[in-house]
Symmetry: C2
Subunit: 349 residues, 2 copies
DNA sequence: CTGAAAGCGCTTACAG
DNA sequence: CTGAAAGCGCTTACAG
């Protein structure tokens, strides 16, 4: 209550009449001093309210902070509420936790404009999501380990899933039941923001820049195999993977006259597919009789209630675990590709 | 590529023939040097690959890290995937972001056993959830600001919602339609873990220790008003607010013979109510005709598809925002009470 | 507007 | 097993 300032390791050493090295060793290297001395130090420390070496000083001295930063392309708000990215984060957190590290969340968006922040305190960086600005990356200490998840960045280590084959597989499954008017709902596929129908005007991002493009390529391969010209398949784009942002686009699709309205919607995410499901049901459309739907991700919410989504299940938790292990040097720093699983629900039997 | 080590502020000063103070000022206090010199420093820094002052050194020197830690009672994995706590986190993140701070996630569980970690690096602590061990709290620097959310800790500032009146209100609404066999599904209410029916053997936590108890008190008040003896209302308890953990308990309830099976379930969370909804529908029970359900929280998932949950909506995002503002000194450090809203859905009209 | 110097609190070879 | 001493990279009064 009345302590004028926090007690330091040096104060404690003076108080006990031992060297600062012994205090430090008592907390960090028990084998470097006698158990008796260590016990005395620890109990005196408790008594005097010294809770251990200051992390700020230690990190400066040792050069390591035991903090790993996750740089999120989306806002923190979005990332924390989205099922897929929060699973990624929990996989990361699980591994960091188990190895005495903690997780610092950085938003890619805020980052660029930021005054010098705490970003360069981290021992390593996991960068998640599409197209982080180069500014952002150049702001990070060049020599720190960095792992990219779901996109490529130079020749850095990455963790990916098999987007193209997985999308091919789900589209092939869907097209086994003939579809007269298939359509695709993309996610962040266009260079310029577009929350609506994609036209020839729109420039699409490359497969290097976004996983969505790889997924579209898989869909197209399946279309061609079934004698459908991909260029004739209408496409829409969604700017953010939320109910709120995707709902108006989906309403636009469902508003089409019945002979133009798609009977099969291949969606780039479960969130989009679930939004389509909700809105279709509200209008009295039956899924799958009137409209078949596929998703991507395999989030729990899509599997709780019938009709369960036909989707591609990816293990985002494992993706996070692997990225964290790479950063900590517990897994080889390479380009890792995870496989996915086709999940067949009632939304597209 | 071949730089032997990272360039420091001192190196840069030597290179440019200016003092270290000017370099520091160029990055931190533009008004302390001429624009011309500042420009020269910044451009040389870029050229030599100096990305700005090292955060570890700065935080030691200034005593501030611009990091705020959130200490979560649950595991990080749970907290990141639960709708309510991730909303809280996003409210916190939003405010921190806007004020140049970053978010460090600490798990209360891991924390106690931890070797000296990076925990005491933070400038402040937001502690969320029930009954953190005292060990945990004593490990935090005593003089740092601390805000507790959803429980009380000594006379520290807190952010709460009006649990008792809100629960009273929803129970009163539910009991307007007569119920022959009401029941309550609690969450972490017992001192000893109990995932199943609560009997007289079980000791309940106090309202100081868990918000669940406050909610139960509200339910009981409504029961009494409707001439129902609270002691006659069967109660179950759930240990973790997830589908997996609550499902077996709910199956146990639904397995009861028809003349014992509750016709009204007052649940302590939407997650529990949604699990009950899913499992009831799987058995062909109709909600609300055969079984009425109420939740608590007002998460989005409960409102997407019919029957929407009758529930109490709490603004977890706002709770997070306020806690963050208190920590940053942008809001008075007091005991803040947020109000909630009764949401009437089809699960209990 | 600029520079010289102290010191934030610790850890770690190193010598004894 | 213990202690004296250097120094991690910065910021900030302070003097000029």
């Amino acid at each position: 209550m009345s302590s004028p300032r926090r007690i330091t390791l040096k104060d404690l050493a003076a108080e006990l009449g031992v060297s600062t090295a012994s205090i430090s060793n008592a907390f960090n290297r028990p084998d470097q001093l006698s158990p008796k001395l260590r016990e005395r130090i620890l109990s005196e420390a408790r008594r005097l309210g010294y809770t251990g070496p200051d992390a700020k000083a230690r990190s400066l001295r040792t050069g390591r902070s035991r903090i790993i930063a996750v740089v999120l392309a989306e806002s923190l708000t979005y990332s924390l509420n989205d099922a897929v990215s929060s699973e990624l984060l929990s996989g990361i957190a699980e591994v960091l936790d188990a190895h005495g590290h903690t997780l610092l969340l950085l938003s890619g968006r805020q980052h660029a404009s930021q005054a010098p922040g705490s970003a360069n305190m981290a021992d390593g960086y996991i960068v998640y999501g599409l197209m982080p600005s180069l500014m952002l990356l150049s702001g990070l200490p060049a020599q720190s380990p960095l792992v990219a998840v779901d996109f490529n960045i130079d020749d850095r280590p990455t963790v990916h899933i098999d987007n193209e084959p997985a999308s091919y597989a789900i589209a092939r499954h869907a097209l086994r039941t003939p579809s007269r008017r298939p359509a695709v709902i993309n996610l962040r596929l266009t260079r310029q923001p577009c929350n609506g129908r994609i036209t020839e005007e729109h420039e699409l991002l490359s497969a290097e820049q976004t996983i969505t493009r790889s997924r579209l390529i898989g869909f197209h391969r399946a279309f061609e195999e079934h004698g459908i010209d991909p260029a004739q398949v209408p496409m829409w784009n969604i700017e953010e993977n939320t109910f709120e942002v995707s709902a108006p686009v989906i309403e636009e699709i469902l508003d089409l006259p019945e002979d133009e309205r798609p009977d099969l919607l291949l969606c780039m995410s479960d969130r989009i597919a679930l939004t389509a499901l909700t809105l279709a049901e509200r209008r009295g459309l039956r899924v799958p009789q009137d409209l078949r739907l596929t998703g991507f991700d395999g989030i729990a919410e899509g599997q709780y209630r019938p009709p369960r989504l036909t989707t591609v299940r990816q293990d985002s938790v494992e993706k996070g675990r692997i990225a964290a292990k790479m950063i900590l040097g517990l897994a080889p720093r390479e380009r890792k590709l995870l496989t996915t699983e086709l999940l067949i629900g009632e939304s597209c039997p």
